[in-house]
């Protein structure tokens, strides 16, 4: 095996539900009936339409069906090819976005069971995130409790654009359960479309919407810190997934300066936002969204102020890089080791447990 990523931990791959019929065995009789009656046959998220280039790299698309739906292909391309030791499945599907909280809870439940039986049981290298019905934090906390005994679930998963800023105490039952079970809070790029994606209304284009996702992540971090979530839940870790990376230093600088000026508004925040963010927040490395010049790329990564916060990810089957160049060249050996192994193990305690 010549992969430079041999033994790495891939913190973001995307198995996809082919259609809701696949979930039938995991739905109650009531929801089986509703699925047919209400024609809930496909629930792909508007944030990742299967045919847009981002959703599937050309050589990673199965001959039939949506990207990420073919188990054998994913195993060959994402696991065997890169030689990774573990990979975390982040399933992006409509259950997370429904307006009906009961429908959301039923389909999240089914999707989690489907991931457990159809993916985790079939390859020991796979780990997964528990997808949550964010529409109702109590139901979301129940879903965490229901699955927490299975240590192959190493994280819980939310979408970056939701109903309320994520720091609000409305969501704290979720964080209480996640912290109790050592589950980091994964926030993946995506939208429930409750509000317009920008402060100036709806973008015209998919690419415009997707570029704007960095704003969604930035305000979520501002909300977590400003509402005092990390003071309340000191063990809680947040992982920003497919968020891009290079926007973060500018946000930390602005937040830090504002905090120095007006911290009296949020007196429970006791240290600089940059310190709090580096203590609690991690980012998956793809898409890197960096400059093409390797020296400049190293400079902007240094602006992050820590080597502990990037986690290796291919984002398979999303199209973020060509060939095998998951990471651009030029990373020092020590940094590379942190990104590939050490940072993921430090971030996911339940994953580390199963390694030992």
């Amino acid at each position: 095996m010549s992969s430079p990523y041999l033994g790495a931990i891939d913190c973001d791959i995307h198995p996809a539900v082919p259609n809701t019929a696949a979930l039938t065995p995991y739905l109650s009789a009531y929801w089986r009936e509703m699925r047919v009656l209400r024609e809930l046959d496909r629930m792909d998220l508007m944030s990742y339409p299967p045919n847009v280039p981002l959703s599937g790299r050309p050589d990673w698309r199965p001959k039939t069906g949506s990207p990420g739906t073919d188990f054998d292909l994913l195993r060959a391309q994402a696991l065997d090819h890169f030689g990774v030791r573990y990979a975390i499945c982040n399933c992006l599907y409509g259950a997370q976005a429904f307006y009906d909280e009961n429908m959301a809870a039923a389909f999240c439940h089914a999707t989690n069971d489907w991931i457990q039986k159809e993916w985790l049981d079939r390859d020991p290298r796979l780990r997964a995130s528990i997808i949550l019905p964010l529409q109702n934090p109590d139901l979301a906390a129940e879903e965490i409790e229901r699955l927490a005994a299975d240590k192959r679930f190493v994280q819980v998963l939310l979408l970056s654009r939701c109903e309320l800023p994520l720091g609000r105490n409305y969501y704290w039952p979720i964080y209480r359960a996640a912290e109790r079970h050592s589950l980091p809070l994964g926030i993946h790029s995506g939208s429930m479309f409750r509000h317009s994606p920008t402060q100036c209304g709806y973008p015209s284009f998919f690419v415009e919407d997707h570029v704007s996702q960095t704003q969604a992540f930035a305000v979520q971090l501002a909300s977590f810190v400003s509402e005092g979530v990390f003071a309340k839940f000191p063990e809680l870790k947040v992982v920003l997934i497919e968020s891009g990376v290079t926007w973060l230093p500018a946000m930390i600088w602005r937040f830090g300066k504002d905090w120095r000026g007006i911290r009296a508004e949020i007196p429970w925040v006791k240290s600089t936002p940059g310190t709090i963010i580096r203590d609690h927040v991690r980012l998956t490395v793809q898409p890197l969204d960096g400059p093409s010049n390797p020296q400049d790329l190293q400079r902007i990564l240094e602006h992050l102020g820590s080597e502990d916060i990037l986690l290796f990810s291919t984002d398979y089957p999303h199209w973020q890089f060509e060939g095998d160049a998951v990471l651009p060249s030029g990373f020092p050996e020590n940094t590379l080791r942190k990104i590939l192994f050490e940072n993921p193990l430090a971030t996911y305690p339940r994953l580390k447990e199963t390694v030992q």
Binding site: V52, C162, H195, F206, V219, S223, W247, M251, I262
Partner: protein, 374 residues
């Protein structure tokens, strides 16, 4: 006040300085001395309307206070900015001269009136109010001090009226730009705004975009933030939306001479946005075939950024990378007088800028962009 001189460290009286040695401040917020001062310039019909119904703004649940109350007196003013003769901060030209223009060696000051006219939900009133703001600027500020240069305030959501306003004032060189708030009703590249771009290009006037205190849409894509500090962080997002929308809608393929100044929105986000735009455009360009070149090229050619509040990198020298990536020819100094987060020209940058960069950022870029030496 020699420390404020861009090119010379020799002390000299600011009034007698030779042209070319001062600072251009691109963000001064002039204020009215009384609540009815600007309304005096409204036609009778609207004066009565304002006194009865007020000026309705989006997302403003209370009448006399901004949605996110500031953390300094006067809704966010410098503590020392109240004129000794009474009135609100920045409402008295004499005191503004003393505290800002003379003290900081301001050769030219670009006014950025925060006009309710651009944001009021009643667009007819908005147009009338913008015209009143424009008359008020002439009479109270630009005719009285030649260092001060005005903004043509327009009601951008009604493009026809905005164009009519531009046509009325553009010939008067007391006005050097068109002012539009960043939180527009639709992303700013959308076609409804194109008549404004056409007029801006025709008159060779840059469009300056400053954050308003209210907006038509939530200040986060996940609903409303709780705190002013969150809203303030999010003020840097509409400028990013403006850049993204204008480039991806193909505005600069059509309006090749259009120039946009993003005021008080920060600038450290510019290089990462350029990288992200280029990368995503590369993958998704089939969706936007009218965008002919990598987005970063349009960004480089059509956008300028004012500096206050200068983002402060944790390691001071990191900001030099940012300035290098943006280009020092695209940054323009601003104080934000009289707001609490005022930047003083001698202390705004905690890094050692080269002599050339300092001169470009503190003066020359703005002189060229706003054609101040004509």
């Amino acid at each position: 006040m020699s420390t404020h001189s861009v090119v010379s460290s020799e002390p000299e009286g600011s009034r007698s300085k030779p042209v070319g040695s001062g600072v251009v401040d691109c963000d001064i917020h002039p204020a009215a001395s009384s609540p009815t001062e600007v309304a005096q310039y409204l036609p009778e019909r609207w004066r009565k309307h304002v006194s009865t119904f007020g000026v309705r703004l989006p997302n403003q649940p209370t009448i006399n206070i901004v949605p996110y109350p500031r953390m300094a007196p006067g809704h966010g003013m410098r503590m020392d900015s109240w004129p000794p003769n009474g009135g609100a901060p920045a409402s008295d030209l004499g005191f503004m001269r003393e505290q800002l223009l003379d003290a900081c060696n301001i050769e030219f000051g670009i006014l950025q009136p925060l006009s309710g006219g651009s944001m009021t939900t009643n667009q007819e009133l908005g147009s009338a109010f913008c015209n009143a703001m424009n008359e008020w600027q002439l009479e109270k500020w630009t005719r009285k001090d030649k260092r001060l240069k005005g903004a043509i305030c327009v009601a951008q959501e009604d493009a026809d009226s905005a164009v009519a306003t531009i046509e009325r004032y553009a010939k008067n060189r007391d006005f050097v730009h068109i002012a539009i708030p960043t939180r527009t009703m639709e992303p700013f590249g959308r076609k409804r705004y194109w008549p404004i771009f056409e007029a801006a290009e025709r008159w060779n006037l840059p469009i300056c975009m400053h954050a308003p205190a209210t907006g038509y849409h939530c200040n986060t894509p996940s609903g409303w933030a709780s705190y002013y500090i969150e809203e303030h962080i999010a003020f840097s997002h509409p400028p990013q939306t403006i850049v993204t929308s204008m480039i991806l809608e193909g505005v600069f393929e059509r309006f090749t001479r259009l120039r946009i100044v993003l005021v008080e929105g920060g600038f450290a986000w510019v290089p990462p946005l350029a990288w992200r735009l280029d990368k995503q455009w590369q993958i998704m360009r089939d969706e936007v075939p009218h965008v002919k070149r990598p987005p970063s090229g349009y960004l480089r050619e059509h956008f300028w950024f004012t500096t206050q509040p200068v983002e402060e990198s944790e390691r001071p020298s990191d900001l030099l990378d940012t300035i290098r990536w943006i280009g020092s020819d695209r940054l323009m100094f601003s104080t934000d007088y009289p707001h609490w987060d005022f930047d003083d020209p001698s202390r705004a940058f905690k890094i050692e800028l080269s002599r050339e960069d300092r001169k470009a950022i503190l003066r020359d870029n703005a002189v060229a962009l706003f054609r101040l030496n004509e």
